[in-house]
Assembly symmetry: D2
């Protein structure tokens, strides 16, 4: 159902896996600084930070799934079906619809600290983009190039902003519960464990990797959360951009959902449609898709950042195989 | 399906849980030294070590499920359906039927070392007690008051005698595989585990006992084997006979099968019919049943050990409640 | 750290395991109807329902760990260290200290419905019994002979009263999280599972009980909660009081903490000090202790229910062994 | 430590992950039909089937890690440290060293049936390639384009040839134990499980993918075996070569070992150095490396199959990123 991370290795890399059973026609979309950002209940932003990310463009509006701005603030929306609750418009609050939430934050905030300020008066309202395009139940990971990360959840009890000390978000249950659950797995280790089960008896490990025997591998959101936290915290830092991008995608692919393993309806299976990541310092956006293993990239700063027109790049979804003979 | 242990605490205590869906009319049976032990293919033993244990008496023959002799050698037969294989009579071998195996060993051997000698020429033969009472597929735990224990398994590949370093036996798969599997659980601990999952993040244990979170609790034989090894190796030693017997039964009850949890056929459920144990030094036989929590005891040396008649004690299976007012 | 249940089998049986590393000198205590119940901030109750249960009597005040009243309402306090939060006295509320909470409810309420009413204006206040006897962080299970059960938790966010559909309470995390976590184990079954892992390959179950392979066996509160829910929902109903009491104690002993398995400090181990249960219809109180397997009983109605003096029964904590010869 | 599979989807795809902490300078190597294959104790093969695969070329000898021949028979050697045992030369047997084993089989056998014939007289002998290049402890997966697969293990008890019904091989323990262990996970499912834990209570699944909650995700060989069997048996079949190759690599990457997660020595970590696969019908060899996500390919039939010289292709190990702007 999706996994989002912030990976730190000199630079910071922010992005996510999108796990779904259907694809929506998303593209890589760069929104330049002067593209007018309209909001249903808030004033238009005529000038704002430029944004790059994965979006569905509908009626010339970039519906971002995830992305980052030129200042190095990233944000991704992930499925949160069940706990997610959005509210009626409330006087005196900043009423923003979930579909506007990513440009609202990325357009105005340089970093997590500024986002937290804006969130203080936020009310996520239940206004659909259109009758055809209704709101998805989402929660969000927001992270910046200082390494700070927060989780934003709007539930029946109100808007919650949680510090995210592990730089990972998946889906339900609510974020504090995901953190609590990590304690169950705290003994998982890359190293061979000491034998505390039967200290009077020598037990031979029959396999390398015995320390991670209890690491979960399921498609469910708790399993992915635990596995990703472990993977991310033990991932090495590279010495080059290419090495970092390589490590980053291995971290995301560690919780990839393969086709056929997560049945969401009769003969319908959710899988990892794409994995993406932005270097928050350089603004370069990288992605792979289920159908194309090669890493693709779009450079934010190679485009005109001042204009009023969206820059759109179709997904390179055809498997690109390098024939050596 | 059954669990057998040797518990060491000054004295040694040997016995088992019997887990089945039906009861066979077993009793506590003391076989005195001069009760003639007949064997189908081996010479009769007119004089032998006295034996105490749980047995079904059929045609005046004590079909022992488990027991111990006056020298402090204990032996129990446990379900081993699948791998168990018994052979035709073989010339030049000591041909013993599985139903005779416990008296054959306990009648003649003082300890595990002597049992090993006898096992060298043993052939477990496929001779039923009767057409009505056919052989069960079994394997055996043999242990003595020095703390030595072995597992005996007769499979299609022959008779196997394994040292048992953990003093526990349950059921399938074959014993070396049970030992190998312990390595998967070696990080289970009574103590709170170190956080190696996410060393960059402080994780609060929300519960005492977090170190045993991965201890299995299933009714299956692997789960019981792992749980019992952990329980036994961390069990304290008492300072009195009563304290030891108390600890011993807690060790066995840790892998008790409660009614309703192990469905072996339509509306048929296996459960722990009885739990028993012999003090290998004193010969006192203790037991509880599913229906009677109180510990009952039969003293071997309170009976005539020289006679030719079996001493039989009915199971105290009615719940004995101590009314305090 | 403790497990409390309501078991239904014709009559209803309510009680708990007390898991701790030290014993406090508790007794079986019957509080008759006219024993004056004093409260620090609430009016004295001179007449109230009679109560039976396990309590520490301090300065002639019955500090109940758990118990039930003559109307068949039961209540138990269990460790809730971390989330538990008690408040200053608040004007306009019914200010009750946690140590008074059990007599406050059991003295006045016939059933869960009446308890819910009383809870509407309750404020659990941070008033210690004495400087020597400070408040424990607790939450509570309240259940009645109609089969209704609720969980009461006082946390930093206020007093929470949750319907308890599974009739089980252990410890942290908060009750809704324990319920959510059950979903992770929903495939655990008494029956042999279908092979959905590898449907193209026949997989032979090597053991009975394979359906419960993933049942947890740890000492931690999540493991005990899951195991107890499974055990309780599959426990048979007996046809006699003795059969029911027998089943009830097997349900509690399924999550017994054996000595040595839960290290809470250097050479300090938590274990199940006692297990108890009240027949909510007859008022008979049953218990076992770690040191005494036999079931003991105290009949409420055998004592004078009208008096002003507590009836106290010392715990039968010496192992009572039935010597058969 | 390595995972090898046969994936069936119209055509058959055979290959493996190589998981190690060091790289040996392997290349894609095509051995044409007339390249003389020398053996230490067996007659030279001057004419044989052409072979393609991953190999280290040493002294002009192709030390294959894995590969396939032009007839569609594939073979891979995987770590089997502990159980692996190789024997002295034995008169009357076909004495082959493990380092010669892959060309010995792939050079002469069209399919698994023919390989089984050759294996009847095989003795795997303990002859090192050189003092510098000693034998690795290995076992092997052999599979063909009919979908047949076998596992070959040489242990202290002799040479064992097992039918492999799941088309997966990882590492220890011995193959029959890996199959037995699958039974523990048979309830794992792509679909949402029925609630058999607590049938009296409605349990809401909080996440998609709940059926795979118990799927293991560890680096150890049992975890990878279980996860790969599940992944492979539920993988869809594509309708084109590209779709099949795509699915195939997702199956292998599902058990990829990410850097940092499997510590095999101080600051030394095993990881998936490469993943490869051969279309057994067309002979095209595909691979990815940890450092290069793009799929690379070498066509067997594009080279001269008749010659005496090895065709060698360096690994495309530099990350190839597709810059879209």
């Amino acid at each position: 159902m999706c996994t989002s991370i912030l990976y730190t290795a000199g630079d910071h890399y922010f992005g996510r896996n999108l796990d779904l059973e259907i694809s929506f026609g998303q593209q890589v979309v760069i929104t330049p600084r002067d593209y007018p950002l309209n909001f249903r209940k808030m004033p238009r932003l005529d000038h704002h930070y430029a944004i790059t990310g994965m979006a569905l463009v509908q009626d010339n509006y970039p519906l971002y799934f995830d992305g980052a701005n030129e200042e190095g603030l990233g944000m991704a929306g992930l499925n949160f079906d069940g706990p997610a609750h959005f509210f009626p418009v409330e006087e005196g609050k900043d009423n923003v619809s979930p579909f506007e939430f990513i440009p609202y934050i990325l357009g105005q905030c340089k970093n997590v600290a500024e986002a937290k300020e804006l969130l203080k008066s936020l009310n996520l309202v239940n206004i659909n983009f259109s009758d055809q395009l209704q709101l998805s139940p989402l929660h969000w990971l927001i992270a910046d190039k200082s390494g700070a990360a927060i989780t934003v959840e709007s539930t029946a009890s109100g808007l919650h902003v949680y510090d995210n000390p592990v730089n990972v978000l998946t889906n339900n249950p609510e974020f504090p519960d995901q953190l609590t659950n990590l304690a169950n797995y705290q003994s998982v280790s890359p190293a061979n464990p000491a034998n505390t089960l039967a200290p009077q008896t020598a037990l031979a490990s029959y396999s390398r990797g015995a320390g991670s025997h209890f690491l979960p591998g399921g498609m469910d959101s708790e399993s992915r959360f635990v596995k990703e936290v472990f993977t991310l915290q033990h991932a090495p830092a590279g010495e080059t951009e290419v090495a970092n991008v390589t490590n980053y995608f291995h971290c995301l692919h560690a919780v990839e959902q393969q086709k056929g393993l997560d049945e969401v309806g009769k003969d319908q299976f959710e899988y990892t449609i794409y994995s993406d990541g932005v270097n928050l310092t350089t603004g370069t956006f990288y992605y792979t898709t289920y159908d194309n293993n090669q890493i693709n990239a779009v450079k934010m700063h190679a485009e005109d950042m001042e204009g009023q027109q969206l820059h759109r790049f179709p997904i390179a979804s055809h498997q690109s195989i390098n024939m050596q003979n």
